[in-house]
């Protein structure tokens, strides 16, 4: 190979090297950063019970002083801390002659609506006995969330904050009052526990 050709070949190699280096240099001036995989999820508010769709209380052909008793367990499965209120609806001509008592407590076992394993809360919330959160006429039971009975905290007496997997039991007792006007009357009621996140 002649000297000129060697010189030209060297120049070609240097030139190619310069192009490669230049390209790499331009590439080094750009860069990116990213924050991927962002996710969003809302919390949940979920309240369930163990009634299996079966009614809690029933009085049939009742006589004055007769009482129907039933216990229900309410479970919170939501992820957000929540307040719970109890309210209901009552209808029929018999409702004013029925006394309702609702006692809050715990239930270590048992099957709806048995109360054999029910233990009342120790706190006297309203002066009607340990764990009693309502005692009065069924017709006077609060009928909306706004007027509902705030579920209380047995420890502090304040409002209970329900958290995931929290369970409480309620014993409901309905007694027919000794009032002639109740004869032949009938009625019905539903009870609602509602949770709302704090």
């Amino acid at each position: 190979m002649t000297g000129v050709r060697r010189l030209l070949l060297s120049a070609l190699v240097v030139g190619l090297a310069a192009v490669v280096a230049g390209t790499a240099t331009w590439a080094a001036f750009s860069g990116t950063t990213a924050n991927a995989g962002n996710s969003f999820a809302a919390g949940t508010v979920s309240l369930t019970d163990n009634d299996g769709g079966v009614t809690l209380l029933s009085l049939t052909n009742a006589i004055p002083g007769e009482t129907a008793t039933g216990c229900i367990k309410v479970t919170y499965a939501g992820s957000l801390a929540a307040d719970v209120k109890l309210f209901g609806t009552a209808s029929g001509g018999l409702a004013p002659y029925l006394t309702l008592k609702v006692t809050r407590g715990t239930d270590s076992g048992g099957t709806f609506p048995d109360c054999g394993s029910f233990t009342a809360d120790t706190r006297d919330y309203a002066g009607n006995g340990a764990g009693v959160i309502y005692s009065g006429n069924l017709s006077s039971f609060p009928s909306s969330y706004a007027a509902g009975i705030t579920d209380p905290d047995n420890g502090t007496g304040g409002t209970e904050t329900w958290t995931t997997s929290e369970v409480h039991a309620y014993k409901l007792e309905v007694t027919l009052q000794n009032n002639t006007a109740a004869q032949g009357q009938s009625g019905s009621a539903s009870f609602t526990w509602e949770a709302r996140n704090q």
Partner: protein, 174 residues
């Protein structure tokens, strides 16, 4: 002849140098007592109204050193029908963290019969198989989580936290 020897000598020298550097990197890069990588998992249970579930206050199972090919971690959960109706109970998992969704498998069984047996990430929907419980009846289910021997990468230092959810559907007419 001399040029050929020089080429061979140079090549062997270069190869020897590469081998020395590679050996040094292999030795120096690993601390003498570094533990092998592992994954951790925690499986809890979520309460539901129709069933009394235990345990709730503590995990069904928890492990901090899961590795492929090992037996994994086992635990039990007891469910009891606390409604007055017969229930068909199915289950699913809800993820707290999803890092082990593809690597780890879960098997929940009742009396040796698997209710679910699949990758953790595949258990987000309610299981077709169910456990039938009469009113008041209870059953103890076994739960096992493991990483198969040929699990794809991604399990190293991964954390898979999940909750077992149960659902009891009333059996019509019972």
């Amino acid at each position: 002849m001399r040029a050929t020897i020089d080429i061979w000598t140079g090549g062997l020298g270069l190869l020897a140098g590469f081998c020395a550097v590679a050996a040094w990197l292999a030795i120096a890069g690993q601390p003498a007592d570094a533990p092998p990588p592992s994954a951790s998992i925690r499986l809890g249970a979520l309460a539901t109204g129709e069933l009394a579930i235990s345990p709730l206050e503590k995990p069904v199972l928890a492990a901090a050193d899961l590795r492929p090919g090992q037996a994994g971690e086992e635990g039990t959960v007891t469910i009891r029908n606390q409604t007055p109706r017969a229930l068909e109970v199915s289950l699913r998992t809800s993820a707290v963290t999803r890092e082990l969704d593809r690597s780890a498998w879960i098997d929940v069984a009742e009396r040796g019969r698997s209710i679910v047996r699949e990758p953790l990430g595949g258990t987000r929907s309610w299981s077709p198989a169910a456990v039938r419980l009469a009113p008041g009846e209870k059953r103890t289910l076994s739960a096992r989580v493991w990483i198969p021997e040929r699990a794809e990468d991604g399990w190293q230092a991964a954390r898979g936290d999940a909750m077992l959810e149960f659902r009891g559907k009333v059996v019509p007419g019972r």
